[in-house]
């Protein structure tokens, strides 16, 4: 409230000091906020109003600073203003349309600003009047729809999207924005999709459109039937592809930026202040904007199963929107002169010929992006982004089609993941990543995450998701008998190290997390390899290596067993989860207990103090037959991802933060629309 007063005071001061200089539009606003009908004396009042340049600031502040009663008194006039705004949208005169759009922006914002605490119905009443609200909003949405789909100017379309964004983000919690109920009834989904499906408009408005969709989908998504969710989920044709192309384009942009940073970061690495710098440099990026895009990507992946196919669609890394293909019809007699897009794909033969051009697809871009995001999870936005990335990966890993693509032996890619510089790790010559099925990159990414986040402020949630992604991928491989040529050893040692970390930080971690759950997942991953290794391991040697690795690191498993045994015998909250881990360790312990004595005796017999790897493998190979394992049920089962109820809170917060951010940017943008307006007036 104090803020409002301050603004009011400010207004009073300016209005008093600059009284003679008041613009005409301001005078007209004042007239509206007087009690009388402004059109009474001047029948052309509304016509004139929309010819004036909008003073957003004044209008908004005026709305804000009026107190409740005063505002109620001017309700009829405000209703009338709103009504005329909507009417004007249908007019030919573009300046008027622009002004009307801006006025609407101001109205929505001002009234909400005013009524932060008040219930939504007041706002609707204030703006449109209860009785007419439905009608007005229908008209408004229809006008916007036709403006967006029409042949009109691009700036106008941009402004429409801004208005919609403004409307969608006026409340912090999108679900409390009751006006959106009308947006649900009068869907603009198709209009937005049309924007996205057109190459040129996608370039201009793609970002806004995508964010708008992402937000609209999140309107009361758990409580009611959101038509946007339904529509997005059944969307099954080319436009999806375009949405994806747009997303990918966005990602590419951010990635490029990040890569620049990365370059800078590599160079500073030599000056030994590397790690400090990443945080610094990346701060400059608007993480929040990426959040919105990530959310959109998530919704697409999560809601629409056709979208998965699009994810995998490969295209050369060409900046689509920036190189507007100018179709030059080679044959002068094309059947229908109105089909330039067709010729240009044909002529895409004339695409820039860059031998270094790497083929890419959205999935690759996403993986690269994730690798950057996951590097640093210190602040909350980053943590959220990383979480969202992992959630998207979870959805992907669960999808049969996506898995099929990830494992397709014909589709090999070179994915350069960004790796965190670490002291004990050499900055490998990673430029020579072999080109492999994409699933290898996903596994690499997961391994990388596991290795790099063992810190005091343990991101337990992310670890859980990460291990689950690995588990889901292995389940798929087991089911489809895919023998991936992957260096599983890296994964094994990463996982063992993780267990080691959990053990050594037991006390700290237990205070905050249920580490047994994670430990159980990890041990069960090993159990997958032990019991079902025959179905998906690439060579018989790799099975030996698994045993070697377990035997070599037996201490970790021994300690883990001691720990869980201790906890499970004590009464306490961790009793049950710990005892689960003890049971899951059955086979691992069997292996250790079986082979350790054999190896020791082998060493004793041959008088070798330190056995080489080959020797151990030899012992392993010759002693399989006397080892019996216990078959564990359900190793290849997993809980399918579901947004509700577990993730609901996360997404609520995410949407809120995105809303706030978008609102901030939109307001800035609408103000700068003035420039645009000028350009407009010269055109028309």
């Amino acid at each position: 409230m104090s803020q409002v007063e301050k603004k009011a005071g400010l207004l009073r001061r300016t209005s008093s000091s600059k009284k003679p200089l008041k613009e005409k539009v301001v005078l007209m606003y004042d007239e509206i906020f007087a009690k009388e009908d402004p059109a009474k004396n001047n029948p052309r009042f509304w016509d004139e109003l929309f010819l004036m340049k909008v003073n957003l600031e004044y209008l908004e502040t005026k709305l804000e600073c009026l107190d409740g009663d005063e505002l109620m008194k001017t309700k009829d006039n405000v209703n009338s203003l709103f009504h005329h705004c909507v009417q004007t949208l249908a007019e030919e005169h573009q300046i008027k349309v622009v002004n009307a759009l801006q006025t609407l922006c101001a109205l929505f914002r001002g009234v909400h600003q005013k009524n932060k605490s008040a219930s939504g119905f007041d706002i609707i009443n204030m703006l449109m009047g209860f009785d007419k609200a439905e009608h007005r909003m229908k008209d408004l949405m229809e006008s916007l729809d036709s403006l967006l789909c029409g042949e009109g100017s691009e700036s106008l379309k941009a402004l429409c999207l801004k208005l919609l964004l403004c409307l969608v983000t006026v409340t912090d919690n999108i679900s409390q924005n009751t006006i959106l109920e009308y947006v649900m009834i009068n869907s603009i989904f198709e209009a937005v999709l049309q924007i996205l499906s057109d190459v040129s408009s996608r370039g201009r408005h793609g970002y806004d459109a995508v964010v708008l969709l992402a937000l609209l989908v999140n309107y009361r998504k758990y409580e009611s039937v959101n038509p946007y969710i339904v529509k997005l989920s059944i969307l099954d044709d080319e436009p999806t592809l375009d949405v994806s192309a747009d997303l990918s384009y966005r990602f590419l942009q951010y990635k490029d930026k990040e890569e620049e940073n990365q370059g800078g970061f590599f160079s500073t690495l030599t000056s030994m202040v590397g790690s400090m710098f990443i945080a610094d440099a990346e701060e400059k990026l608007s993480v929040q904007t990426n959040e919105a895009i990530l959310l959109a990507l998530y919704e697409a992946v999560h809601l629409n199963r056709n979208f998965i196919t699009v994810l995998a669609q490969s295209h050369p890394e060409i900046d689509i929107p920036t190189t507007p293909t100018t179709p030059v019809p080679t044959t002068p007699t094309t059947p229908l002169g109105t089909t330039p897009p067709s010729t240009d794909v044909m002529n895409s033969s004339e695409l820039p010929l860059d031998p270094n051009l790497q083929t890419s697809n959205l999935l690759i871009t996403f993986l690269k992006y994730s690798s950057i995001v996951m590097q640093d999870t210190k602040d909350e936005h980053r943590l959220n982004s990383a979480r969202l990335c992992l959630i998207i990966l979870t959805c992907i890993a669960e999808d049969q089609y996506a898995d099929a693509f990830l494992h397709d032996d014909n589709m090999n890619f070179r994915v350069n993941l960004h790796r965190m510089p670490m002291r004990h790790r050499k900055k490998a010559a990673e430029k020579n990543v072999p080109s492999r099925p994409l699933v290898c990159a996903v596994l690499d990414l997961m391994v990388e995450f596991v290795v790099t986040h063992m810190m005091k402020d343990f991101p337990m949630d992310l670890y859980m998701r990460c291990v689950q992604v690995i588990h889901k991928l292995i389940c798929y491989q087991k089911k489809c008998r895919i023998r991936l040529h992957y260096t599983w050893r890296e994964l094994w040692s990463a996982l063992i190290n993780l267990l080691k970390f959990l053990l050594s930080n037991e006390t700290v971690l237990l205070a905050k997390h249920n580490i047994f759950h994670l430990a159980l997942l990890v041990v069960n991953l090993f159990n997958m390899f032990i019991t079902y290794g025959d179905t998906f391991l690439p060579t018989s040697n790799s099975y030996d290596e698994l045993y070697y690795e377990i035997v070599r690191m037996h201490q970790v498993f021994d300690n883990l067993y001691c720990m869980v045994l201790r906890v499970s015998t004590n009464a306490g909250q961790w009793k049950e989860p710990a005892s689960k881990v003890t049971h899951s360790l059955v086979n691992v312990r069997a292996i250790i207990n079986h082979f350790n004595p054999k190896i020791e005796s082998y060493a004793a017999v041959n008088h070798i103090s330190q056995l080489s790897e080959d020797q151990v493998l030899e012992v392993v190979r010759s002693n399989y037959d006397t080892l019996t394992l216990k078959l564990q049920d359900g190793l290849d089962q997993y809980e399918r991802y579901s947004e509700q109820p577990k993730e609901a809170a996360f997404f609520k917060d995410l949407v809120r933060s995105i809303s706030l951010n978008v609102r901030k940017n939109v307001s800035l943008n609408t103000l700068s629309q003035d420039i645009l307006l000028k350009e407009f007036s010269t055109i028309s």
């Binding site: 080319e238 067709s342 997942l521």
Partner: protein, 889 residues
């Protein structure tokens, strides 16, 4: 036989003049030549009976072996056209022709029959032979069409032609004529002879006669010699050109495919001319004419000639060809049928497309999508109605399609590594997919189809050092006639899954079948409405649950907690050894797939059995559920001259026919070559075959061991069959390598198919050319000890069988030497190809047939060659050289 003919032709070069009156008329009027020739003075009286008999077959059974015409097909074409041609025009044309004939008669002194016959002979002739799809059946229609050609293309040729021939007529010598005439009339006179006379005879009359006679051969017979015909057209004198042109133009009018093929070949074979002459050459002009698409069918489209590809006979071609003579009245009912058919096709396509559109989620998206659809398909598709209206874009879609394939090849060549090439290829092809389906087809295929999709992820770059040939698989929908059948509607990639589920629904399966029925056979009833409704229900059934499964994502099926339940009552025990054993067993059981090798991406793709690949791709394709779905493959070569390949392929085909005819069980596999220009083209890949290099590199074992591994032990039937196949193919290719002097025979150029056949590919070095002239490969052919091992060793029966086959093959080939030589000889005309380097190419080729040797001597020769090749140090040297320089094992 060949000998005799040859001598005859030489001896009689002066003779045919006797017939110039008639030939002259055929040149100028270009009607009915075939029978004016036979009706020489001696046969004059006989001839008088003919005019009255408008039905050809009884009197003129002497033409080429004509199967009895099938009425249905014939009348289809005829009646369709009778509708088109204005009787007035026809009448007028008839009168013109008559006048010209009279004129000639007045001039000419000999051959009284012409005067006697007056208008009638032409009439009779027109109907009796030639011009299979000739528009007007009875009323002098035979005349109209060719005349038009002349009037349109080179009207001025009329007069000089007739003047010239009139002059020649003076010198004719009637007495000897009958020999040649009887030959030409005889059943034995086939395309091969026709081509040979066309090439050897310097007499314009004979040439013109043969030019007309071409009309009477089956399309695919002539198509085989298309390269020869066109090369003669380009490089030989005017008379030959004039003789050939009407036929070519006529065929171009009928078929898009033929038009394009001609244009491409013309371009390719003109390319050796000097640039200045080339620009004004006949070939270039004709090429331009074809590309300008002025040769579209006059009026309504004629029934499309069935020959799609030159070398594959289509069953329905034959009857159609000869049926034209039957009167139009026969055609009435079938016409109705055709008409109906096209109509129902159209409606089917409508129902199909609307079906698809309906599923789109909302009207607005739908409309925009429609625009996309139409715009994306238009450029290639050129719309359905164009085939009716004959808009100028008749050839454009296919040309664009080929152009873009070539464009990809060019761009790939700039990329340094195979990996980058492969990736780029895949992404480029996925772009290409946006333009499909369209009215485009693969010219190497044997049936009519429309290309609907390129499964881009399956494409591979082939091994080549600096060029970037690549292999693509192409999904097509077979159709009745690619020019008239409607182009399939685009199904989005993203619909894969729903279409699959549609397939599962029983009633939808039926609709698919019904759809197929209405496409392929003649539907007399309209089941479209039915298809509509059923399909819609299907879509609903599919779409609805989709929404459900998507929106309710909160079904948790399993909870992790229950997994390692504490209370698993009776633990099941498994032996670790078993797991390990199963692993190694399973790994051992899949040895026949090749490992993926980034340096040789094609090896794995080619090793996969074709049927499995088809199945796999079909499952992944949105079009896979359509019954007419087929998978084709093609190698796109950009930057390579395939003219020699084409030549070799022709020789191989000819030899194959000869061996078959002579019952020599030699097995060879000629593959289709499409020459698009002098540096680009397409090749039909051989399925289920990998190169011996790939076999050896992947399996790391001698060839015999590989055979044993793939087919079983020595005594198994599978092995014995494979071994026999190997021997039969080896004999064939050894002979071919010897006869054609095929060089560059390293193991990368020899394929081994799944049945054990070897197949030689890459005929880049034949006849007079050899790689870099290093003098390697001096032996007659390549026969390594590994090959001999597979054949069972030097003393084995199979090895003797091999030598025997060689001998038989050589004897058979020798018998028909002329047919082989002729193919090569004609192509030498005006050619700069390296295989014709030097002057002795043809002579040496002839010598290699060893006409003078007795069969005993030939046997000794074969023994010598086999012996020499086996012991040849140069073969080993060359393999070693290839291993060192190119890494080919």
């Amino acid at each position: 036989m060949g000998d005799v003919e040859l001598e005859q032709s030489v001896a009689q070069t002066e003779e045919p003049q006797q017939h110039t009156p008639s030939t002259a008329s055929s040149v100028s009027i270009s009607s009915s030549p075939s029978h004016s020739l036979p009706s020489s003075p001696s046969s004059g009286p006989y001839h008088h009976h003919q005019p009255t008999s408008s039905t050809p077959s009884p009197t003129h059974s002497d033409g080429p072996a004509i199967p009895s015409p099938s009425l249905g097909v014939i009348s289809e074409g005829v009646t369709e056209l009778t509708l088109v041609i204005d009787p007035e025009v026809a009448k007028k044309a008839c009168q013109e022709v008559l006048q010209k004939v009279k004129l000639l008669k007045g001039e000419g002194e000999g051959s009284g029959f012409e005067g006697g016959c007056g208008p009638d002979p032409t009439l009779a002739n027109g109907t009796v032979h030639n011009k299979p799809t000739d528009p007007v059946s009875v009323g002098g229609g035979g005349i109209i069409k060719p005349q038009k050609i002349h009037e349109e293309e080179d009207p001025e040729s009329l007069t000089p032609g007739s003047v010239k021939s009139a002059r020649r007529r003076q010198r004719h010598n009637p007495s000897k004529q009958s020999w040649l005439l009887r030959l030409f009339e005889s059943k034995l006179f086939d395309v091969s002879m026709a081509i040979s006379y066309l090439h050897n005879s310097k007499e314009p009359g004979v040439q013109a006669y043969i030019g007309n006679r071409l009309f009477s051969f089956r399309h695919e017979e002539v198509d085989f010699y298309l390269p020869q015909l066109l090369n003669m057209y380009i490089h030989m004198d005017e008379d030959v050109g004039d003789a050939i042109k009407p036929y070519v133009v006529h065929r171009c009018r009928q078929s898009i495919s033929f038009s394009l093929q001609c244009a491409w070949l013309l371009g390719a074979y003109s390319s050796d001319m000097h640039i200045s002459t080339q620009r004004h050459s006949r070939g270039t002009k004709l090429r331009k004419l074809i590309f300008s698409d002025e040769l579209k069918p006059a009026g309504l489209r004629a029934r499309r000639p069935p020959a799609l590809t030159p070398f594959c006979p289509l069953p329905n071609a034959t009857p159609a060809l000869h049926g034209h003579g039957v009167g139009g009245e026969h055609g009435l009912s079938p016409t109705k049928r055709t008409h109906q058919r096209s109509k129902s096709d159209a409606t089917v396509s409508i129902s199909l497309s609307s079906n698809l559109k309906r599923t789109a989620s909302n009207p607005k998206v739908e409309s925009s999508q429609d625009e996309d659809l139409s715009s994306s398909s238009e450029s290639l598709e050129c719309e359905n109605h164009d085939c009716k209206t004959g808009t100028p874009v008749r050839l454009t879609p296919q040309r664009d399609f080929i152009k873009s394939l070539m464009g990809i090849g060019k761009r790939l060549a700039t990329l340094p590594t195979k990996e980058q090439k492969t990736q780029r290829l895949i992404s480029e092809l996925s772009l290409l997919n946006h333009k499909l389906p369209a009215r485009v087809w693969l010219p190497t295929s044997a049936f009519d189809h429309h290309v609907v999709r390129v499964p881009h992820t399956q494409a591979v770059v082939l091994n080549s050092k600096d060029k970037a040939p690549y292999l693509i698989y192409v999904e097509v929908l077979e159709c009745e006639d690619f020019e008239t059948s409607s182009v399939p509607v685009r199904i989005s990639e993203t619909r894969i899954r729903s279409t699959r589920s549609v397939e599962n629904l029983p009633d939808c399966g039926i609709t698919a079948d019904q759809r197929a029925v209405s496409f392929s056979t003649v539907p007399n009833y309209d089941d479209d409405n039915e298809a509509w409704s059923v399909d819609d229900i299907g879509e609903l059934q599919v779409e609805l649950p989709e929404i459900h499964t998507n929106s309710c994502d909160n079904i948790s099926q399993f909870s992790v907690d229950s997994i390692t339940s504490l209370d698993s009552k009776e633990p099941i025990f498994i032996a670790a050894g078993d797991i390990r054993r199963r692993l190694s067993e399973q790994l051992a059981h899949t040895p026949t797939t090749f490992r993926r090798d980034p340096e040789d991406p094609s090896a794995m793709a080619l090793k996969e059995p074709w049927q499995e690949k088809v199945q796999r791709i079909r499952e992944g394709s949105p079009y896979g559920h359509i019954p007419t779905w087929r998978l084709l493959s093609v190698i796109v070569k950009c930057g390579d001259d395939l003219r020699q390949e084409l030549l070799a392929s022709q020789v191989l085909q000819q030899l194959q026919v000869i061996w078959e005819q002579e019952r020599v069980p030699i097995w060879i596999k000629p593959y289709k070559i499409l020459v698009i220009s002098s540096d680009s083209g397409m090749i039909e890949p051989i399925v289920n075959a990998v190169s011996i290099h790939q076999v050896k590199k992947q399996s790391q074992m001698p060839l015999l061991d590989y055979f044993l591994q793939e087919h079983g032990t020595h005594t198994t039937e599978a092995f014995l069959t494979a071994q026999r196949n190997f021997v039969q193919s080896c004999a064939g290719y050894c002979l071919i390598c010897y006869l054609l002097q095929v060089k560059d025979r390293h193991n990368g150029n020899i394929l081994l198919d799944a049945d054990g056949h070897i197949i030689h590919i890459d005929f880049g070095f034949i006849l007079s050319s050899s790689p870099r002239n290093l003098g390697f490969e001096t032996s007659a052919f390549k026969l390594t000890s590994e090959f001999v091992d597979v054949m069972g060793g030097l003393d084995g029966d199979m090895f003797n069988y091999y030598k025997m086959l060689m001998l038989q093959g050589l004897i058979a080939a020798r018998k028909h030497m002329d047919k082989v030589i002729q193919i090569v000889e004609i192509m030498q005309q005006g050619s700069q190809l390296p295989c014709f380097h030097g002057s002795s190419t043809i002579r040496s080729l002839k010598e290699r047939f060893h006409m003078s040797l007795t069969e005993e001597q030939l046997q000794v020769l074969v023994e010598q060659m086999v012996d020499g090749s086996m012991r040849s140090i140069t073969t080993k040297l060359y393999d070693g050289f290839q291993y060192l320089t190119n890494g080919i094992m």
